[in-house]
Amino acid sequence: MRSFSLIDFVSLFAALRWTVALVVLALGFGAPLALGLAMGRISRFAGLRWTMAACIQIVQSVPLLGLLFFFYFGMPVFLGIQVPALVAVTVAYTLYTAAFLGEIWRGGLEAVKQAQWEAGACLGVSAWQQFRHIIAPQALRLSLPPTVGFLVQLIKGTSLASILGFVELARAGQVVSAATFQPLLTYALVAAIYFALCLPFTLWSRSLEARLDGSR
């Protein structure tokens, strides 16, 4: 119990590094997985399509907190496997990111006209080359704005990692608020930091969108 001081500012900004690290981890592992999911969802094999769809549905329908809880606390208790906090949080956020980005990118892939696949096929280009050189670049352009939009959600979503002991921005806010008994000042500050962190991405996403419209 003490008053709000410089150390509290410092601890809030220091906590930012975990927010950033969690986002980087989630994207680093989640994005490749998302690509696999998206490709699986447009695959010719119905079995693969359904499996991928089911995986995505399940992850999207469970609270992220549940995933975090399961991998960190549940694995040791049920399976006897001790999982370091960093591994647990990485796995949970990877699945979360993959499920949402996978759906976004699938939308992008499906938005590219079927005729583009056909045009590639008629030139005797292999299916992978059609995907790699003709479909994927166009799909990426279409999905970039929602992808950046998701990034903002992810930044805000990292706050849940506090349950595994990661003192990221939101958790640091709680700790400072508890020590100083000034929740309103603290949370306003936390909100401002989030806003400053997220706004550039939102604006970027918007300008991408505008450019996309212009080229059509």
Binding site: S5, F73, S162, I163, L164, G165, S177, A179
Partner: protein
């Protein structure tokens, strides 16, 4: 062929080591003594039990007790900050050895964790404006129909839920939120311990913070995983020892500004 077999044996052993439920240790006390390190889980958002001081260090009565226990045990101390929702899972999944988080003991909770002898005690009460009348008897009938802000899951929450059905309980995630609700006028009263009530009055001289109902004394206990009887015994002994030599009383005075009158479990 023989090489292949031994390779397989090594792999199988490695898998067994990884997969072995290493929670089923024979004796946590020996483990801690053997590893030379005691992992103590504690809250960092529950002043004056546990919080970050103005140097950014973990401080509070719980942190001091953790230091005391580790020193008596002769092992290094590792403080593991946990959140309210994670404290019990952290203990059950062996992320920490013991939990010092101002835990209050109830029969229901004791089915899941084992409680030590109490190490501190606070007076719990409901605080509010002067205009609210004082309680008539042993029941908080003066609060009937009024709203009480309380930290979710605290001993106060449990007691009021069971004993004051006509009170409108509003449960918040933590103490600061409950206090903020009272200060914002979202609740008529708040329930907390006397040390915090004093602090609130200090910081908000314009707000009326008067004791409206004294609930009871609330002892705090150390939490240990089910079955770790040896560790629990040792901790009980240590608490008893520090009670006699006055160190626990000093901690109470330091953080709650009041004399300690410890009951026993």
């Amino acid at each position: 062929m023989r090489q292949l077999k031994s390779l397989f044996a090594i792999a199988a052993t490695a898998l067994a080591v990884i997969a072995a439920p290493n929670l089923a240790h024979a004796d946590k006390l020996q483990d801690v003594l053997g590893s030379g390190k005691l992992r103590v889980g504690l809250l960092t958002d529950a002043a004056p039990w546990g919080f970050k001081d103005d140097k950014g260090e973990i401080a509070g009565l719980d942190a001091d007790l953790a230091k005391l226990i580790a020193a008596d045990m002769g092992v290094k101390l590792e403080l593991v900050p946990v959140t309210g929702a994670a404290r019990i899972p952290s203990l059950l999944s062996d992320k920490i050895d013991i939990l010092i988080a101002g835990l209050g003991a109830t029969p229901e909770r004791a089915q899941q964790v084992m409680f030590s002898q109490p190490y501190a005690v606070v007076n719990l009460g409901v605080y509010g404006a002067k205009s609210i009348p004082a309680a008539g008897g042993k029941k908080p009938d003066n609060l009937d129909g009024r709203s009480v802000a309380v930290a979710k899951g605290s001993t106060l929450d449990v007691w009021l839920t069971d004993n004051a059905p006509k009170v409108k309980l509003v449960r918040f995630e933590d103490t600061p939120a409950a206090l903020a609700a009272y200060l914002a006028g979202q609740a008529d009263t708040f329930a907390e311990n006397s040390a915090i009530a004093l602090k609130v009055q200090d910081q908000n001289p314009t707000k009326e913070v008067e004791l409206k109902f004294l609930i009871r004394q609330s002892p705090a206990h150390v939490g240990v995983r089910q079955g770790e009887q040896n560790l629990l015994n040792w901790i009980n002994t240590d608490i008893f020892f520090n009670k006699l030599n006055g160190k626990l009383g000093a901690l109470q005075l330091k953080w709650f500004k009041e004399e300690q009158t410890l009951p026993t479990l």
